[in-house]
Subunit: 448 residues, 2 copies
């Protein structure tokens, strides 16, 4: 079937045959598919939807388009985590060494910041000396030494998705659930873990702004895991406000370590990590329930094992954490700061977290195109979050830029003020965990 | 606004601003618009639709994308006709000299065959010596001499449509009514006529298979004519069976002249031409009603003036009609013929005219891609049409190929048989004219 026939079939609402989906993906990787036809097909898919079977075959074909990794010679269980992206999301920095401390093996690939969301690789690169580009052999050495490793995702893993994603991004065809699931899950499944936990973010700072869409994605992901032989667990977590107190690369690394050390005023961050770890432990049969796993995670943190593993891991990948701390002390005097004052007295009732993410990006913490450069010190220190009382003129947040950057424009201060709603009434504090869906059950056990 | 923003706006169902439509079309002609973004926008338009205002601005922008012709120095009224395409549609060959005989001036541009429909230029090229590539000056000379002229449409007329149409064709985004109307009407309006009549074909061999869609198109076309200052009339005509008795290039030229000479057994063909001419006469204020214009047309044929003008016109463009006649006599002995026998006794109740058009194309009368070569003698002689009685084994049609072509494959004989339904009951004969919508009234005066 030619691509024109596939477009016609999809426009009629037909299900595309498995063989045609595989042929299409082969054509994409071989660059024999015209991008203008592919974008028309993607738009038709956004209107007609992908069935579960189409999504499954697309995921399979994506995986087959490149190399798949195999860690079976390492001591198991091999685990991985994926986040659908948020603002202030430093979970990977904390969770990976923490899981290693709890006895799991974590060979992780991460991405860079794009748009309003941050990227783990950019965060790690704010640590002087940290190497995110390890060979497979180097990864193994680090893992054998400390149990975990995080590197930048290579181009040879699911190359078809890279091409399709670039086109989707340029043609406003990103929001179809099957396309999203195939893109996310193919990369995770090709990366060779035995068990995977998904942190599905939901709220104003997330890709999924409604719980219904977050659950739908989680359901498809769990089914894909079952049909492709990998146990998957999901946590749907709250992204109605930035996670933790900081947004920005170096600041998030510092906050992540502080949280592991029990020095953070933000219990949400540790609670989310412990839940994700608990779900992962039960997913790979290390415990009877995720609550049991969660308790085991808590013990690994309280004992100091998680923090110890964090330090060992950073050092194993060449990172000099002491230099980051020293740079912070030195930089603090030279950083360009702008305090964001509250416009009135009251209680914070809402944070437009995507908008806050955009403020962080415009400060220099992220990028709009892959060519943009990152300022490791740029970002936001959130002094007040939802439920906190604020007084007119007192700081809601501090906007930060590195010493070499131009001063923070007043426009960004006003933008942050507009992103935060202050109410005269008390507000209910949102919980960080909205739902937990353990491996291959596909049933919600919290909430609806 | 970038193209990505236009795609987003259209996906939300928003109306695209006039300035953005003009900027888009400028970008298309300057090749600064990425075709993969344009095709995604076209697909979103197919789902969301173009509003009338968007269609009007797109038509304007298309016209502005190239040259517009001006015939105002010629004696008026300057008229033009457009057909939405059919099978056996030799109307232009008859109508243009006929209109000239009725006192109108007809500088016409036509297209070539594509898919299952024929093209006037291919038909004219079957006449030895006929030149379809005249300069503007040469066109004027022919018009001054005989009152009409038909040439191949130049590339400098509405270049934006050419680019967009190629992309629509390759991405299954041809069927949105606003896109269709802007494509058709921009070309007609740029060609410089004072008044235009549209032959909107409706039925199994036409682009519009339902009367509702044909009327909708006619309504938009009439409104565009009003808003862009050109009176337009429409005739919706029956394309449930081939027009006349022949399908194919040389055969249609011969049939057209025979019909003008009153030698055709097919009154439909002349009736449709007279109606189109009548609508055009009233559209340019040459008569009180289209029926009056129709009567004037009939007189111009009965007097022999139309036939005389046909012969003078063919000669004026270098065509040697006598050689075509001679070639027919000679070729008839050498043509490759295949009779299509009726499979049973009865009355023809249905003809799948698109399928019949495809049979003609596969015989060599048309082309699938612009690279395909045409056999001027290839085509179909329809011996029986809807309402005609047939006897098992007697011919439904004769399939024809030129002397140099390979024999007609049995597959095409069977294909034709399958395209024709034979019933045991009498069937109602369809009228050739389904509706008439005179200039700028937008009201149907026949039918619904």
């Amino acid at each position: 079937m030619e691509l024109l026939s596939l477009i016609r079939a999809k426009r009629r609402g037909a299900e595309l045959p498995a063989a045609e989906i595989h042929r299409l993906v082969t054509g994409i990787v071989e660059h024999s598919v015209a991008d203008y036809q592919l974008s028309a097909l993607l738009m038709a898919i956004c209107y007609e939807g992908l069935s579960y079977n189409e999504t499954l075959e697309l995921t399979r074909a994506f995986i087959d388009s490149g190399v798949t990794l195999d860690w079976s010679h390492l001591p198991g269980p091999i685990v991985d985590k994926h986040s659908t992206g948020g603002v202030g999301d430093k979970v990977s920095l904390m969770l990976m060494p923490w899981l290693a401390a709890a006895g799991l093996t974590v060979p992780k690939m991460s991405g860079r910041s794009l748009g309003h969301t941050g990227g783990t690789i950019d965060k790690l690169e704010s640590i002087p000396g940290f190497d995110v580009n390890l060979s497979g052999r180097q990864m193994e050495d680090v893992i054998k030494q400390v149990g975990c490793c995080i590197v930048a995702q290579g181009a040879n893993l699911v190359p078809a998705d890279k091409i399709v994603y670039t086109l989707r991004d340029a043609t406003d065809t990103v929001d179809e659930m099957g396309l999203i699931a195939a893109s996310v899950m193919s990369k995770k499944l090709a990366a060779g873990a035995d068990c995977i936990v998904l942190d599905v973010k939901c709220g104003s700072g997330a890709f999924f702004t409604s719980l219904a869409r977050a659950r739908k994605f989680a359901d498809i992901a769990l089914r894909l895991g079952r049909d492709l032989g990998k146990p998957i667990g999901c946590v749907i977590s709250n992204m109605e406000q930035p996670l933790g107190r900081t947004v920005g690369n170096a600041m998030e690394v510092l906050e992540a370590r502080a949280a592991l050390a029990g020095e953070s005023p933000q219990p949400d961050l540790s609670a989310l990590c412990a839940t994700l770890g608990g779900v992962l432990l039960v997913t790979c049969n290390r415990g009877a329930s995720y609550q049991e796993g969660q308790a085991r995670m808590e013990r690994a943190r309280e004992s100091g094992a998680a923090l110890e593993r964090f330090d060992a891991w950073i050092a194993a990948q060449g990172g000099d954490y002491a230099r980051l701390e020293a740079a912070r002390t030195k930089a603090e005097k030279e950083l360009r700061l702008a305090t964001v004052p509250a416009l009135k007295d009251g209680v914070i009732s809402d944070m437009d977290t995507r908008r806050i993410g955009e403020v962080a990006r415009r400060l220099g913490a992220g990028r709009l195109t892959t060519a943009d450069r990152i300022d490791p010190w740029a970002g936001i220190l959130c002094r007040a979050k939802i439920g906190d009382s604020v007084v007119q003129g007192e700081p809601l947040a501090v906007l930060v830029r590195g010493p070499a950057a131009p001063p923070v424009p007043g426009e960004l201060v006003r933008e942050y003020q507009q992103a935060v709603a202050v109410s005269s009434y008390a507000v209910e504090l949102p919980g960080i965990v909205l739902d937990v869906m353990p491996a291959n059950r596909g049933l919600s056990i919290i909430g609806g």
